[in-house]
Structure formats: structure tokens, C-alpha cells
């Protein structure tokens, strides 16, 4: 079979050019790429907003959110008013070993208690530690990025966060 010179040699020319261009590898962990702001890394909980409505737990396709809560009476806000009943969280765990990172829980929460954060470096040597309890979920809160502007042509956003 006659070998036409250009085919193989042309390929070698391309690999030679690429070799001179340098590597694109990001040398993790010495250099780290910053994921985009919307990147779904971990879920942060803002406990004050949570009312244990269970919507996130029900919406989760994997049943990985464990919620326990109880009701307490709080004194009336004004003079002569009735005491209010508030829902307080006892337990809010997300099992990241099961979590699919789909974001349905963050989306359905009507009280803006759950947020996405692009943090991804929380791997653990044993699976049980992947169950983040409510304190740990609250610790992620400071990593939640600001709401970023949308592209040209997007409809104006009515609420601050959806």
C-alpha cells in the first residue's frame, strides 16, 4: 500500500506545533480553577429562614434530606396580641453521599433558606462523614456568591432571588 507523504507527516506537524504551545494542565492542588458562580458545589443552609415546611425533603428525588422540627410558642409581637407558634429546626441533615446535586430543594424552598455554593473540596475518607448536619451546612453560607447579572436580552428579574 503506497503511503502518501502528506497524511502522516501533516499529523506530525500538528503534534509538533501543539508541543510548542505548552500544556493546558492545571496543576491541582497547587493551582486551582475557580468554578463559575452558578456551579453546584455544596448546599448552604440559612437556618433562620427555615420553617420546617418539608418541601425540600419531599422534592428531593433521593430522599437525602432529613428534617426534624418542633413547634414553640413565641411571645406576641405587640401588646395584647396572641402568642405565635414558630417552627424550629432540631435536625437538618443533607446526606451528600446520596445527593444528586440536582438543585430541586434549593429551587422549591419558599423561604430562601437554601443556597448553592461553588465549594467542592469536602471529600471525606469515610462515607458517614458526608452527612452534613445543620451547623456544617450553615458554615457554607459565607461561600455563597452574590447574585450575578444576567445576559443581554434577559427579562428583568422581579424578585431579588428566585
Amino acid at each position: 500500500m503506497a503511503f502518501k507523504l502528506p497524511g502522516l507527516i501533516g499529523g506530525l506537524g500538528i503534534t509538533f506545533k501543539t508541543m510548542l504551545q505548552g500544556a493546558v494542565t492545571v496543576q491541582y492542588p497547587h493551582e486551582k480553577e475557580q468554578p463559575p458562580a452558578r456551579s453546584r458545589g455544596v448546599i448552604a443552609l440559612h437556618e433562620d429562614n427555615c420553617t420546617s415546611c418539608m418541601l425540600c425533603s419531599r422534592a428531593c428525588p433521593d430522599w437525602c434530606i432529613y428534617i426534624e422540627g418542633h413547634k414553640e410558642e413565641r411571645p406576641a409581637r405587640r401588646e395584647g396580641g396572641r402568642p405565635r407558634a414558630v417552627n424550629l429546626l432540631d435536625r437538618f441533615d443533607i446526606d451528600y453521599a446520596l445527593c444528586m446535586y440536582c438543585g430541586i430543594c434549593v429551587e422549591v424552598c419558599p423561604f430562601d433558606a437554601l443556597f448553592w455554593s461553588p465549594e467542592y473540596e469536602y471529600s471525606e475518607p469515610n462515607i458517614a462523614s458526608l452527612l452534613h448536619n445543620k451547623d456544617r451546612l450553615g458554615e457554607w453560607f459565607h461561600t455563597v456568591p452574590e447574585v450575578e447579572p444576567l445576559e443581554v436580552g434577559a427579562a428583568p428579574v422581579a424578585k431579588a432571588k428566585k
Partner: protein, 406 residues
């Protein structure tokens, strides 16, 4: 045969290996058919070996039980199901947003494209339409996922025939596309971005400009693959006339997508099927190749990658402004009915037959996945083929195990 009887795994005597229906074969293809030649000098016999399920050439957990005469395959039986996750059973007990999340994972390399037909089917049943901007963004993201998966194909097919370099180039250029998808949707591989009625969010600031840059990179990458791989004589020797699928036979097996177009059948659901997304407003070319061999499948996918990049540029130029979500209730209940939507996914024709009874979740979803039918032609195609050519054929058919097994 009653439903309680179960034949044993195919052995030398089992009728299963002879059960492949025979067809009129074109004269040029005679050399691909096997006669089981027994070498009279050495007393050789047939060997039954497993290719897989852990095998670098089988793209995941596909097991091929092959009966070999030396290096030539006499019969092959793909055993699938190692990744069977029971999607159709799962969808019976999930709400529509949850199903949308799950079906991302059917074909995980182009996962945005998996959500589109399902959401479209639900929207058809609800008789709503996503607003034009949502349709354009959906189309752009579908084409981006097509580019992402094809860049991987262009790389790894070179890898399967022995060229290591294209694999690196494929992954390197694919990173840009995945970064684009991540900046828009939040997930590189599983965007979970479609909602019934539109999309979850609008695009972030600067996305359109960034996409234009990335499309230039993609077009350059296609030129590189053409020079590096397609023109390479060794690649051509490995792939020309290997694994020929006659067009009509392929269609009767259900082979679809680039595989069928590489056999000369001019059928593309973006142009020929029921109109969906923004494709009716786009100007694009559909590529076919008359040969039907592995080289043709590589060639067609390379051209389609270029064409997808051009389509994305067209979409960005024409992107309308406006809302990205139609008016839908918070808790979505889809009215009773049945709906069938099929789309041209990167792997082929993907379709969802959604049966709804008016609840918050579907009653039955039949997922027609492309790779299932693409792989079902293997028992026919692998007869008389040498073992290294088996690897080339598997690479050129380009199936994803999640798509076969669901």
C-alpha cells in the same frame, strides 16, 4: 415457550448463536461473513471468550460473548444490563421535576439533550409552549452538548484504533464547552436546566461573547482532527470497509443518528421530524456518506461537529430577548393524555412516550434510547470480523452504556 422457562447462557451447542436472521448480503460484503473454517493441519476449535464487561474498548460495562475461530469472530452476543438502573420503573414514582433530574443521567455525555424531549412531551400535554428565548437557549445548549460529546468521540475513536494523541486534544477542547455549560447551568455534566415551560435561569452576563470564542476554538479543533486523524493513512486502513451497515438494514434494526446517515440514509430529525426547539429557524446542512463503514461514521460526526458550531453561532446572532419561562403553576400537574416526542440526540433518535393520568408525576414513561438499537445490530455486524476490527466497530458506533441500559 412459557414465561417460567429460561434458556441457559449460550454455549457451543445453544441455538442462540445461530439465531441471527440471515439477509441478502451485497456481493462486496461477502468477506465479512464467516464460514467456520476448521484448520485441518492443527486441530483447532472455537473459543468462547468475554470481551468485557471491564474492558477499555467497550465504552463502559458492555459484555460481548464472542465465539472465535482464531482471531475471527463467528458469532457475538452482547450481554447488557450492567448499568440497568430501572429508569422506567423509577419514573412511575417521581414527580416531573424529579424525573427531569434523573433523565440527565441516561446519556451522560450530552445530558442536556436528554431532558429536552421529555420536557417537550410534558409541555405538549399541557398545551403550553416555552417562550422563544427559552427555545433558542435550549437549542444552543443542545448543540453545545452535541459538540461536547462529539469532541470526545473524535478523540477516543482515535484512541481505540491506537492513536493516543487525539484523545488528549478531544478532552482539552471539550473543557471549554463544558465550562460554558457549567457557567450557564451550574453543572458540567448534569445541567438539570430544563423546566416544564422553559428554563430554570437565564444566561449569565458575558456568556454569548464567551460562546463565540469557544466556537472558534471548536472549529479549529475540527480542522486539527481532520488533518491529524482523518488524513492519517493508518487510521484509514483501520477504518475503511470495517463494519459496514447497509442503510435499509440499519433502519430496520432501529439504528439512527450519525450511524444511519453514514450509511447513506438522509434522515435527520432536526430537519425532517416534527418541528421542535428553534431548528425550523436555523439554516444547517445534514451530512451523509455512502460507504457505511467506520470511516464514514467518523467523517459524518466530524462534519456534524462543525455544523453544530455554526448553528450555535447562528443562534447567538438571532437570540431573542424576553422571558425564559412560560406561566405555569408552582406544583405542575400535567393533564391526562399520551405524548410522543423524538429528537435528534447526539447518539441518535431519542424519544419519550409519556403517559400521564393528570397527576404530579407521569404514569408511564417509555424511554426510547438511541444506543439500545445501535448496539442491537452488533450480533449481525460482528460475524466474520477480526477482533481488532471489533474494537473499531464498537468505537465507531459510539454508544453510551447509560443509554443502552437506562
Amino acid at each position: 415457550m412459557s414465561s417460567t422457562e429460561q434458556p441457559v447462557t449460550p454455549t457451543n451447542d445453544s441455538p442462540d448463536f445461530k439465531a441471527v436472521p440471515d439477509f441478502e448480503v451485497a456481493p462486496g460484503m461477502q468477506r465479512h461473513l464467516a464460514d467456520a473454517r476448521v484448520n485441518v493441519e492443527l486441530d483447532t476449535g472455537d473459543m468462547i471468550i468475554n470481551l468485557g464487561p471491564q474492558h477499555p474498548a467497550t465504552h463502559g460495562t458492555l459484555r460481548l460473548v464472542v465465539r472465535l475461530d482464531g482471531e475471527r469472530v463467528i458469532a457475538a452476543d452482547p450481554v447488557i444490563g450492567y448499568m440497568h438502573r430501572g429508569y422506567e420503573k423509577l419514573t412511575e414514582f417521581r414527580t416531573y421535576p424529579q424525573v427531569t433530574t434523573l433523565i440527565n443521567r441516561i446519556d451522560w455525555l450530552s445530558s442536556f439533550a436528554n431532558e429536552v424531549p421529555f420536557v417537550h412531551a410534558a409541555e405538549q400535554l399541557m398545551e403550553i409552549e416555552a417562550p422563544p428565548r427559552a427555545q433558542y437557549i435550549r437549542t444552543a445548549l443542545t448543540e453545545l452538548s452535541r459538540i461536547a460529546t462529539f469532541l470526545l468521540f473524535l478523540g477516543e475513536m482515535g484512541l481505540q484504533v491506537g492513536a493516543l494523541t487525539p484523545a488528549f486534544y478531544g478532552f482539552r477542547d471539550r473543557e471549554h464547552v463544558l465550562n460554558l455549560i457549567e457557567s450557564a447551568t451550574g453543572g458540567r455534566f448534569h445541567p438539570n436546566f430544563n423546566r416544564i415551560g422553559g428554563l430554570k435561569d437565564d444566561l449569565p452576563w458575558g456568556w454569548i461573547a464567551e460562546t463565540r470564542n469557544v466556537m472558534k476554538i471548536v472549529l479549529d479543533a475540527c480542522d486539527v482532527f481532520e488533518d491529524l486523524v482523518l488524513g492519517n493513512e493508518i487510521f484509514q486502513a483501520r477504518t475503511r470497509s470495517v463494519g459496514i451497515i447497509p442503510g435499509e438494514l440499519g433502519a430496520s434494526y432501529g439504528v439512527s443518528g450519525s450511524n444511519l446517515r453514514a450509511s447513506g440514509v438522509d434522515w435527520d430529525l432536526r430537519r425532517d421530524g416534527a418541528p421542535y426547539l428553534a431548528y425550523p429557524e436555523l439554516d444547517f446542512e445534514v451530512f451523509t456518506h455512502p460507504d457505511g463503514d467506520s470511516f464514514a461514521r467518523y467523517w459524518v460526526r466530524l462534519q456534524e461537529t462543525r455544523e453544530s458550531a455554526r448553528m450555535v453561532l447562528q443562534l447567538l446572532d438571532k437570540m431573542p430577548s424576553g422571558p425564559i419561562m412560560a406561566k405555569v403553576a408552582r406544583i405542575i400537574k400535567v393533564p391526562a393524555g399520551e405524548s410522543w416526542v423524538e429528537t435528534e440526540n447526539p447518539l441518535g433518535q431519542m424519544g419519550y412516550y409519556v403517559v400521564s393520568k393528570g397527576g404530579t408525576g407521569p404514569f408511564r414513561v417509555k424511554i426510547r434510547s438511541a444506543s439500545f438499537s445501535n448496539v442491537s445490530i452488533l450480533p449481525w455486524m460482528l460475524r466474520g470480523v477480526y477482533v481488532p476490527d471489533v474494537v473499531t466497530i464498537l468505537a465507531s458506533l459510539y454508544f453510551i452504556l447509560g443509554d443502552i441500559d437506562r
